[in-house]
Amino acid sequence: MNQEEVVDALAGLSLFADLRRPQLEAAAHTFSEESFAPGQRILRQGFQGTGFYVILDGEVSVQIDGKDRARLGKGDFFGEMSILLGEPPVADIVALGALHALHLSGPELQGFLQQNPAVMYRMLQSVARRLRNANRWGN
């Protein structure tokens, strides 16, 4: 995709749904597009310095010790937990087919969220949903 196409793709993802065009363009220039071959790991259990990814196209498997625990697809994002906590991921993220994703480095994520509170609010809602689904804690 070129940057214009990335802007259109971002506009269709719920995480970026509240951004206006100039903000979407800045976001499209901030993220870089990456491609992964089937079977490649994108996040690696126990590895430091990981990034934040938003899936543009394709599907990934969330694996702990090689066991499939969940699937993520277009529009889903991952990597933010490790960056926010400053700890390595406790799961592998593995491309199931050819995967296209947008990448933002860990050090850049915090600045991006602070400049785009609307994206952060969407991310908060998503994390809150996950916490509720974790079904043990929260209220």
């Binding site: 800045a26 220039h29 090689g66």
Partner: protein, 511 residues
Amino acid sequence: MTNRRRASVASTAEAKPHPPGDYPVVVVGSGPGGLQAAYVLKHLGIDHAVISADPSPGGMFRRFPFFQRLLSWTKPHAPYPQKTREYEWYDWNSLLAVEPENRSLMPPLMDGTSEFPSRPEMEAGLSAFAGQAGIRIRHDTRWEATSRDGDRFIVHTADGDYRAKVVIFAVGVAQPWTPSTPGVEHVAHYVDTREASSYRGKRLFIIGKQNSGFELASGLLHWASRIILASPRPATLSVNLHSLAGVRARYVQPWEDSNLGGGCFILNASIERIERHEDGITVHTRRSDNGEPFMAEVDEVIAATGFQAPLGDLTELGVTVFGQSRLPAMTNFYESATVPGMYFAGTIGQGVAGLKKFGIPANSGAVHGARYNTRLMAEHVAETHFGWVRERPVIRHEDAADFLLTEATTAPELWNQKSYLARAISRGSGGTLHDEGIVSLADFVDSGGPDAIAITIETDDTGDIHPAVYVRRRGRVDGDARLDGSPLHEYRTTAHRRELLSLARGVIRGS
């Protein structure tokens, strides 16, 4: 058809080697990537043809960069002598060779006034390499189209067809790209920039705040009366990012001028449309911070908006491309992820991101990183298609830690391609250790294999440079470990040895 064409060029065989026909491998391109790939194939004894649309070697360095010198250093005086492997870290612009006489060709060609070569010096260096290393290139032979015939690729040229099971495209990432903004016809691309003095007294608008935009601004700073640099994303500096991804130190002058308010301006804005009128050009922008419109009156607009890989009709054969630069989706060995047998050399290899730890990319978009990727790719081709067997010398257990720490301290592959290439030792049957050579770190940590240990150099988010160690046990690498940094990057110490051996438990004996 092919035979007739072959006959017609027979008389010029000296001037035009590699006539159309069947070859084990065809390499397309005669820039650094094509030359490096051809060199390694030749060295490994794999017959191949090299074709190039250009009249001489050099690739993009026959034209770029315009005003400035290259961004990559060749330091004539270094801690290690020229022609050694270790010197490659101090000489980013020479291609790799095994024979000492073909190494370090750049330093003697440079006039000594700068450690950054000029464009003609770089072009001369690449020509010298092709000549000295005996790389024969069929010039003025443009790859026009590509097709399949069973398990073979057919590379069509005006001279005739080339057939091969393996094709290596080394065509660079130098095809100008301009966004489809309304009024883009009033915009010149970076590649169409004229001689600097022709911008005397002009008000200039440069779209793009990457190195090419800042290179133009630096080169035109004392000619233009006003320079505006604009793009949606704030510019970043290499010294802040700890990598070559940001604006290089050499091009910071326009930034300083803008901080002082001195006729150079840096805007974060998206470009909405460009209108020509009798007094000049109006650029309509929208500011990224508050969404407000902003207009600039200028005389000329230049788009420093980047380049794409000129992959021609390869997508019709099934090659998937991605990103602004339309890079092919590739494996860790630079083979198309969707069309087996098709490989890529040179700067196109930047499409293989690797681990990108702490967001820091490898240097695959420049000669100093790409040359190692290309060597890895060509060796992989030799291994998987032509039965070449890599030598895996035995390493004594008591020498293993010192061997790895010496690599961490001096290996040019590890320093040029941080967190991307690594030195690995594997443990074979009976516990014998073998040197696996330079490996792709992503392949090492993801592909399984015997118990092994790999060492690389990494930079973290604070800018600290240190060795990192990855240990594979029972086919898995479960985490990374960093060794301590060192003020002068010397890791051959007792403390590092102790730390490394404790990480290598079960792989290196005596740990």
